[in-house]
């Protein structure tokens, strides 16, 4: 291919990347806006939310009709990526709007800029079809997250953020090593290409599997899959709540998208040297077990939610492990309910923390009577995370389980059956720890008499909208599933 052709390709590609360009512009605007005379978080918040809304509108308006390779086989522009981008951008928007109070010192321009760059990195990661692009977008997302994680600006935050950074940097190194091995084996960096598949097919052996696992490790780390989950509890405890909510959705979903693309390529339609179905299923099994068991003993609400997010990531991975289009559809459905439920829960937790400084489960004792609306909304979000009706989480879990069983019946690996059973038992286990919060809210005597009557308008409205969405996802899952069915999942 001529240089001029490549330049032309890059220039043509720009017209398909409007959302990303808008996000980049937003990042630059925010960087420069810290130079204005009297910086106010209101301006930053508006700039960042407008950026996200415009990007979201562009993603929806320019919905892909057919898959396209962009930027000299760097990015793939398809419906899968666009639906992931919708989830990421909504997550970013909700994080920007969480934590309205101006009492905190953290709302500088950089804070909002970093949220935008996490979203930008996530969007690009979801579109990557080239190892180089994957590592670049992954790092854009990661480095922004390392900084965001320390925004509480205390010792504890610095320590956990450093831990996160060291762990992440080491795994990035491992991933790059794995990529170089795969490049050596196949002769290409474009993992969605024909030559990559042929290269893998012609060189079966433990090396391809090892290299694949090395690359996946960096992505699994973002999803907080066991054994790459150690950072999660510390980070969740030490970071500001809107950022925790962001971490519980955006990097997870972006990582999931990249895992879907990469593992489908490695899977070779079941012809691979080692069964990737087996590998991903066993990771999901371990994640669900560890996440739920470790959650049982937690006293701090955000640590509890960290283990919750670990086990939820296990369910996302379980959907991928079926290696079927409907498994991936159910993953997206699951990710949507996870987005809504997590933001509902974190929104309410943020409200409780900001107003009353509650961080431990026992601080919540008796608050259900003091603040009825917040209590009900928080409980509803947790119900959805457990997977009980009438919340969308039930449908999401049900669809994932049904897909797993269907794939098992259609001749999948025997481990899928274990995965199904572990998933169901994990659901029972998760009931124990999720219900700790409603238990404290409603069953125990109040400790904070001073909490009193307070009607939180923004939290109330945001919470009611999210809770109604969860109800809607439960009552009319067809709204989303029929749309997902129409998506083109040709990778």
């Amino acid at each position: 291919m001529q240089w001029s052709d490549k330049v032309q390709w890059v220039l043509d590609s720009l017209s398909f990347l409007h959302p990303e360009l808008v996000l980049s512009t937003g990042v630059l605007l925010l960087l420069f806006s810290s130079f204005i005379r009297r910086p106010s978080y209101v301006i930053f918040r508006w700039i960042s939310s407008l950026t996200l809304i415009i990007a979201l509108a562009l993603v929806i308006a320019e919905w892909p009709q057919r898959p396209l390779a962009l930027m000299v086989d760097m990015l793939r522009w398809d419906e899968f990526a666009s639906s992931i981008k919708v989830i990421i951008l909504i997550g970013g928007l909700l994080s920007v709007w969480m934590g309205r109070s101006s009492s905190r010192p953290v709302y500088t321009a950089e804070y909002f800029m970093l949220i935008l760059s996490v979203c930008l990195g996530g969007s690009l990661l979801a579109m990557s079809m080239n190892f180089l692009m994957m590592i670049l977008s992954l790092e854009l997302m990661s480095i922004s997250s390392y900084v965001l994680a320390s925004f509480r600006l205390d010792r504890h935050a610095a320590e956990s953020s450093l831990k996160y950074f060291l762990f992440g940097a080491a795994l990035t190194g491992v991933a790059i090593f794995g990529m170089s091995l795969l490049f050596g084996i196949t002769g290409t960096l474009v993992f969605s290409s024909q030559s990559f598949t042929e290269g893998l097919f012609n060189h079966p052996g433990p090396l391809t599997v090892t290299a694949g696992i090395m690359v996946l490790a960096a992505l699994l780390f973002k999803m907080a899959i066991v054994p790459f989950h150690w950072w999660a509890p510390d980070i969740y405890e030490a970071s500001p709540t809107p950022i925790v909510a962001l971490f519980s959705v955006v990097p997870k979903v972006a990582g999931m998208a990249a895992i879907v693309r990469l593992s489908l390529a490695l899977h070779l339609f079941g012809q691979s040297y080692a069964s990737w179905q087996w590998i991903l299923s066993s990771l999901a099994i371990v994640t669900i077990i560890i996440g739920n068991l470790a959650g049982l003993g937690q006293q701090h609400v955000r640590r509890l939610m960290a283990y919750s997010s670990v086990s939820q990531a296990g369910f996302l991975l379980a959907g991928i492990a079926t290696f079927t289009p409907q498994g991936i559809q159910q993953c997206i459905f699951y990710a949507v309910t996870l987005l809504v439920a997590n933001y509902l829960v974190f929104g309410m937790l943020d409200h409780y923390e900001e107003r009353y400084g509650m961080q431990l489960i026992r601080d919540f004792s008796g608050q259900g009577q003091q603040n009825v609306l917040a209590g009900i909304l928080l409980t509803f979000g947790l119900i959805s995370l457990v997977g009980l009706p009438p919340a969308g989480g039930f449908m999401a879990k049900f669809l994932v389980f049904a897909t797993i069983f269907n794939e098992y019946q259609a001749g999948g690996e025997g481990i899928l059956l274990i995965l199904l059973l572990v998933g169901l038992l994990g659901t029972v286990l998760s009931l124990f720890f999720y219900m700790k919060i409603p238990y404290a809210l409603y069953f125990q005597a109040a400790r904070h008499e001073g909490a009193g009557k307070h009607r939180p308008m923004t939290y109330g409205i945001l919470g009611i909208i999210l809770a109604s969405l969860l109800l809607l996802l439960f009552a009319y899952p067809s709204l989303l599933t029929l749309w997902l069915n129409r998506l083109n999942f040709a990778f």
């Binding site: 079927t324 289009p325 409907q326 009577q369 009825v372 119900i383 009980l388 009706p389 009438p390 039930f394 449908m395 049900f398 669809l399 389980f401 049904a402 897909t403 069983f405 269907n406 019946q409 199904l420 059973l421 169901l424 038992l425 659901t427 029972v428 009931l431 124990f432 219900m435 238990y439 409603y442 069953f443 009319y476 899952p477 067809s478 599933t481 029929l482 069915n485």
Partner: protein
């Protein structure tokens, strides 16, 4: 909108209205709930005229598409909003509406946090009626699950001293059961298809699931494929999962230990709903689809089912006899009485099945009475220990006589509904005309012995508490032991009349049940060996 949807919608709407009302007006919450259950009674009356008891099959059907997920080209998952009633669910819905009315009246005693209480009670009402009327497996499961949360809070917030322990235990037990049922539902759902369409549509429709010819060839539940996991076939495993799931709710010994705690710790009205309605959902699930979907497996394990039943009958009765707490005695008597339901089902004939369904209704009425009566005593003295009282009928003659009538009805005296139910169940169990004999003869005898034990503990308790010279070891309680108020009479007397009516004119109920039982048996019998 059909009558059944209305029945479900009225309490939900009431819950929303109550939620919007200000916290400070407890009278309104009571009033609105009372209006809601009264409207439900009227809808029930309208339904009674529309329903034809002699017509086989489902009536008052409402059918709308609900969920549609494409798995792959030409293969779809489909669930419907499908409500309908037949000769089993219609009496159970009638029971639910009546019991809910009485529960709301009994709930007037609740004084703290009335708003949340009535909201939860109304949601529970909707869930119970939904579970009895849903004919889509997924829809049924949703209502079934949705009973859990309101009950968890109702027991845990308004219950007795050990309420938190009881609520958590109840929640975990039943949630574990639901997970087993969910596994079963997934396997069933993947293995069945809708008949008469070219596309492969995985169905949740219970009517289609009851037809064995709708099993997808080569799927796990295909008996020709004889797929097995370990020593048992896949079909048997799924049957066991479903059975245990519902046996927890029923409850059958050894899955019953949540029941005494939850029933004793719950406030009186919630105990009533638990015992009279929620337990019935377990039995309903077994009769409605566990057995029709797995008739061969159920018949093969009928002796085991019978054994569970007999152990429940006798173990429940013995525990009741040993109970020191009046309410605990009633709770264990429920275990014993629900054992008869399982025995009637296990004997696999029309008589036994009719008896089981009759027992569901009869026990629903009687246990409501018993829990209300225990509540009467508790309201006055906050103490239910049997040995603390004697000669109560001298001080409280009306109370004493209603307790006497209820005890007689519960122990199965002729002229009361319990007699008809237990007689039918035992006839079914002893029935030798259908071969093979599904439950051995000795089980019938053992169950009859259980009846004897029932008579023993009811009469003994009555003698200890109500006969002899009046006295109580509670120092403060003497003056508080007043006879029944008119509000209590309003709740109790109609129930006594109902149990008498069903005992003397069993045909009023049996005409519904018989139509159902023969249809059910016709459907199942081709698959019994």
């Amino acid at each position: 909108m059909g009558l059944l949807s209305l029945l479900i919608l009225v309490p939900v709407a009431t819950a929303l209205v109550i939620l919007a009302l200000p916290q400070s007006r407890p009278t309104f919450f009571r009033l609105f709930s009372l209006v809601a259950v009264s409207i439900q009674l009227m809808i029930l009356g309208a339904g009674w005229f529309r329903y034809n008891p002699n017509q086989t099959g489902m009536q008052l059907t409402e059918h709308y598409p609900w969920i549609e997920v494409v798995l792959r080209q030409g293969e779809r998952v489909h669930a419907d909003y499908l409500l309908a009633v037949d000769g089993m669910s219609a009496p159970l819905i009638a029971l639910s509406v009546v019991v809910m009315f009485i529960t709301v009246v009994a709930s007037f005693k609740i004084v703290n946090k009335t708003k949340s209480y009535f909201v939860l009670l109304m949601l529970l009402d909707a869930a119970v009626i939904g579970a009895f009327s849903a004919l889509d497996l997924l829809l049924f499961f949703l209502f079934f699950e949705f009973m859990l949360l309101p009950l968890y809070f109702l027991v845990g917030i308004w219950g007795g001293p050990r309420r938190e322990y009881a609520a958590v235990k109840f929640f975990l037990y039943t949630f574990f059961g639901s997970i087993l049922i969910l596994i079963g539902i997934i396997v069933i759902h993947i293995s069945f298809r809708s008949p008469g369409v070219a596309d492969l549509i995985h169905t949740f429709n219970i009517l289609e699931l009851q037809d064995q010819s709708n099993i997808i060839v080569g799927s796990f539940l295909d008996s020709a494929r004889a797929y097995s996991w370990g020593p048992l076939t896949a079909r048997m495993w799924v049957f066991i999962l479903l059975f245990i799931g519902f046996a927890i709710k029923l409850p059958s010994v050894p899955f019953h230990t949540w029941l005494p705690d939850a029933h004793v710790e719950a406030p009186t009205p919630v105990s009533v709903v638990l015992a009279a309605l929620v337990l019935k959902v377990g039995a309903y699930g077994i009769i409605r689809f566990t057995l029709p979907i797995f008739p061969g497996e159920a018949a093969a394990s009928s002796t085991v089912l019978g054994l569970f039943a007999v152990i429940s009958i006798i173990y429940g009765a013995l525990n009741a006899m040993a109970s020191k707490d009046f309410k605990r005695l009633i709770a264990y008597s429920s275990v014993s009485h629900m054992g008869f339901v399982l025995l009637g089902v296990a004997s696999f004939n029309e008589t036994g099945l009719s008896g089981a369904v009759f027992q569901l209704v009869s026990h629903g009425i009687l246990t409501t009475l018993l829990f209300l009566l225990a509540g009467v005593l508790y309201d006055r003295t906050s103490d239910r220990t049997i040995s603390n009282y004697s000669g109560l009928s001298i001080k409280m003659p009306k109370y004493g006589s209603i307790v006497l009538v209820t005890s007689m009805a519960s122990l199965g005296l002729p002229a009361f509904s319990g007699f008809i139910a237990e007689w039918l169940v035992l006839t079914g169990a002893f029935d030798q005309t259908h071969l093979p004999d599904y439950v051995p003869q000795w089980m019938g005898f053992a169950a009859t012995f259980g009846l004897l034990l029932g008579a023993a503990y009811f009469i003994w308790t009555y003698q200890r508490m109500f006969l002899g010279a009046f006295g109580t070891t509670l120092t403060t309680a003497k003056d508080e032991l007043t006879d029944l108020y008119s509000r209590e009479m309003v709740m109790l007397v109609p129930l006594v009349v109902m149990t008498l009516l069903l005992g003397i004119f069993p045909q009023t109920l049996l005409q519904y049940i018989n139509t159902f039982a023969s249809a059910w048996f016709n459907q199942v019998s081709p698959y019994l060996n």
